[in-house]
């Protein structure tokens, strides 16, 4: 057992209101710079929808992630042999049009327009070329199903549905959508790290955050092609690639990342998971339908004495183990089995998990009333967002995992309704919980962490112990004598 620690995340899609506050928080802190205008380390997509960059889930085109080959797995986009003939032009590179061309407006023309018969306007100009452009696309162009003929209907996850289901999904009375906020998943088997020819990408040993060393990066952009979630971006100004850094400077000072901190719907949870790094290869090689369970089995119980012992042996700090024991992520993923990894069939083993959303019941005129006593989960199975769609997005293709999570959530709603409204008897609620594999204690805990959670319950940030982590890279005594004063811009003797 090779125990490592990983700062992991849960996004509760049932709570997301699609306000994009997270995206703006991130943009303001990190990507409001030249060359980074088009980057959204955090973005919120509407599902069904094609997302950003357009249709990123279509790996036939984008060639992200891993594929099974010759008994093992290999990157779809590149490899040791394949990188040589493609060294001068990476053939799986998205173009700027697939993201969008960033723009601003010429406000000068609005405010300083001479008096005339026409209404002055601020024309859009490209932030790349500086020339006037016709805005054709943006980072959330298909927000709330905008332009759904072009975009939503081409969501790759819809391929799992039958033609009837697809038709039903877009008929006017049954239109449905939910939000899908995305950041870097800080995967256990990251394609970006594997693809980098310069060795510029690395996964931090102490917390598993995946970073790009800006000094080592040579702008090959192999990571851009290899990441199936398209969460590494090439900065055309600096000639280096960049990605979400999980706000590690904030984490190191005990603050939640900017997108987590600012989340209006309080959908985001962050905490440490302990996992067995020896199992990564074995798990990543399993068939699609076993991946969700196998990834869960890699995540270790932080209360288990053996795990704690192995963690100590691996140099994981006592404070981090304690933090892992209080981790909300562990509860959502492992204990309650509510949170699921997005597109685990890409085999990067993402460490950001999503609680699937409940959606309105598929109602028709002759069947508007369903007796809750008889069939608790009728509406879950018949929900407007087809299970197959959610399974394609979050379940590695199998509906069972999604159904399990949705049933449990629904049972807890029934239970809370019995508690607070009282139009359902407690016996009925308890039967529902039992059917959903949930105890009353668990239902209470889930209810609390979902609805009444405080800041500190949502974000259990481990002490980062930088003073110890730095020993992996350099000698602290040497480090001490090299910093201390003027380490941003050191003073130099000059005239």
């Amino acid at each position: 057992m090779n125990v490592r620690s990983q700062v992991s995340m849960v996004f509760h899609l049932d709570k997301c209101i699609g306000c994009h506050t997270c995206s703006i928080a991130c943009k303001n802190v990190w990507t409001d710079r030249k060359g980074a205008e088009y980057m959204w380390w955090n973005n919120v997509e509407t599902k069904p929808g094609t997302g950003y960059p357009t249709k990123w889930e279509d790996q036939e085109k984008y060639k992200g992630g891993w594929e099974k080959k010759n008994g093992g797995i290999r990157l779809k986009s590149t490899g040791k042999g394949r990188i040589v003939p493609n060294i001068f032009h990476n053939p799986s590179q998205p173009s700027m049009d697939d993201y969008y061309e960033p723009w601003t407006y010429k406000y000068d023309e609005l405010f300083n327009a001479p008096e005339g018969p026409d209404q002055p306007t601020a024309r859009p100009v490209s932030m790349v070329t500086g020339e006037y452009i016709n805005v054709e696309s943006g980072p959330n162009w298909d927000d709330d199903l905008g332009g759904s003929r072009q975009y939503a209907e081409n969501d790759p996850n819809l391929d799992a549905l039958t033609e009837d289901q697809r038709q039903a999904l877009f008929s006017v009375e049954q239109l449905v959508f939910f939000y899908f906020p995305r950041i870097c998943n800080h995967c256990l088997n990251p394609g970006c790290v594997a693809a980098c020819p310069s060795g510029a990408l690395y996964k931090r040993g102490e917390d598993g955050i995946v970073l790009i060393d800006q000094k080592k990066c040579r702008g090959w952009r192999s990571c851009v092609a290899a990441c199936p979630y398209k969460k590494t971006y090439y900065n055309w100004s600096t000639g280096k690639s960049e990605k979400c850094i999980l706000c590690f400077p904030r984490l190191e000072t005990g603050q939640a990342p900017a997108c987590f901190h600012s989340c209006v719907g309080r959908i985001r949870y962050l905490g440490v998971l302990l996992y067995d790094a020896d199992k990564i290869q074995e798990v990543a090689n399993l068939p699609d339908d076993q991946l969700v369970d196998a990834q869960r089995s890699m995540i270790l119980d932080p209360h288990d004495e053996n795990v704690i012992e192995a963690a100590r042996k691996n140099g994981i700090h006592e404070s981090v183990i304690e933090s892992a024991q209080a981790s909300p992520v562990y509860k959502f993923v492992k204990e309650w089995k509510l949170a699921l990894p997005p597109h685990i069939e890409y085999r990067t083993l993402p460490m950001l998990f999503y609680v699937p959303p409940l959606s309105p019941v598929m109602a028709s005129l002759d069947d508007t009333l369903t007796s809750i006593d008889k069939d608790f989960f009728h509406d879950v199975e018949e929900s407007r967002v087809p299970l197959k769609f959610l399974a394609s997005l979050l379940g590695g293709g199998s509906e069972g995992k999604v159904l399990y999570a949705l049933k449990k959530m629904k049972a807890i709603r029934i239970y809370r309704r019995a508690m607070t409204v009282g139009d359902i008897t407690m016996e009925t609620a308890q039967r529902a919980l039992k059917e959903a594999d949930c105890t009353i204690e668990q239902a209470e805990a889930i209810y609390k962490l979902t609805s009444l959670c405080t800041f500190d319950e949502r974000f259990v940030i481990p002490p980062m112990n930088r003073e110890e982590a730095i020993e992996m890279m350099k000698d602290p005594h040497e480090h001490r004598t090299n910093t201390g004063f003027g380490f941003v811009d050191s003073p130099k003797r000059s005239f």
């Binding site: 960059p53 279509d58 085109k61 053939p91 799986s92 173009s95 081409n154 092609a225």
Partner: protein
């Protein structure tokens, strides 16, 4: 004092004999490709008793700067030029007044002999065979290595007998060289010890063997029967072949990287827009 005189005399003797030998060597390497002494004219005239034809001053002046003298309009120089069919003697950077004097001394010495060592090479006069021509072509093209490992002719020269892109363009086209160097004897002699500076730098350390000279001469005689390539069409051909090759290579790239990433969003939007437009059109027609 006495001893010193002997040493000085010995040194002087050594120097003069060394100098005489050096001059002979110089003549062999630089002059013999075009001149003989008592062997008849090659590209340049036979130098036997040259001083009876023109005085030493004039000769030295000519040796130092042949082109200058010719261009100055000197009548005798003009005559020489027409005899040599327009071939101008190259200027030798190593030629000095002193060297010219030494050479003229040597020529005077050798002219007195019945049979000078510089009478000229014994060039075989057996008729050329098909095999000679073929070997010559192979040597020219570099299919067969020159025995002393000099670079093959094609590195610098072109000739009309070559398929494809032709030879090098650094040096003159050799299609008519047989005619320009007035036949077998002259050309053979010239090839045995080429006189121009660029040829010398290549072939002095690694000369052609008599066999190779014969083969190449045979080859050059053979090429004479064809027309020289027109340089302008050759250049155009080169350009056209280049453009064709670029198009071909790009085509091959397109096939190899056929599965490369192409625009997703624009294609998606355009296809749906087209569909909508088509439907609108058909509806308006129905109405």
């Amino acid at each position: 004092m006495y001893m010193a005189a002997i040493v000085a005399a010995a040194l002087l003797l050594l120097y003069t004999s060394a100098s005489a030998q050096e001059t002979e060597e110089y003549f062999r390497q630089n002059c013999m490709s075009c001149h003989t002494i008592g062997g008849g004219r090659l590209t340049g005239p036979d130098l036997k008793d040259v001083e009876s034809r023109k005085d030493r001053d004039w000769l030295v002046r000519f040796m130092l700067d042949p082109r200058g003298v010719i261009e100055s309009g000197d009548p005798y120089a003009q005559e020489l030029l027409s005899q040599a069919r327009g071939a101008i003697m190259p200027s030798f950077p190593t030629m000095t007044k002193k060297r010219a004097g030494q050479l003229l001394d040597l020529i005077a010495e050798e002219s007195k002999l019945e049979r000078s060592q510089f009478k000229g090479l014994q060039v075989s006069d057996r008729p050329f065979t098909e095999a000679d021509v073929d070997k010559g072509r192979r040597l020219f093209m570099g299919y067969e290595r020159l025995e002393n490992k000099a670079a093959p002719c094609i590195s610098c020269h072109a000739i009309n007998d070559i398929p494809g892109l032709g030879g090098g363009t650094l040096a003159p086209d050799l299609t008519t060289v047989y005619e320009r160097y007035s036949g077998r004897k002259t050309l053979s002699t010239w090839l045995s010890a080429p006189a121009t500076p660029s040829m010398q730098s290549v072939f002095k350390p690694q000369p052609l063997t008599p066999d190779e000279v014969l083969a190449l001469t045979a080859f050059f005689e053979h090429t004479l029967q064809r027309n020289p390539t027109d340089p302008s069409t050759a250049r155009l051909n080169f350009l056209l072949i280049g453009v064709g090759a670029v198009v071909l290579i790009l085509g091959v790239f397109d096939v190899i990287w056929n599965k490369r990433f192409r625009s997703v969003r624009r294609v998606l939007v355009n296809s749906v827009n087209e569909e909508i437009l088509k439907r609108a059109n058909s509806e308006s027609k129905d109405a």
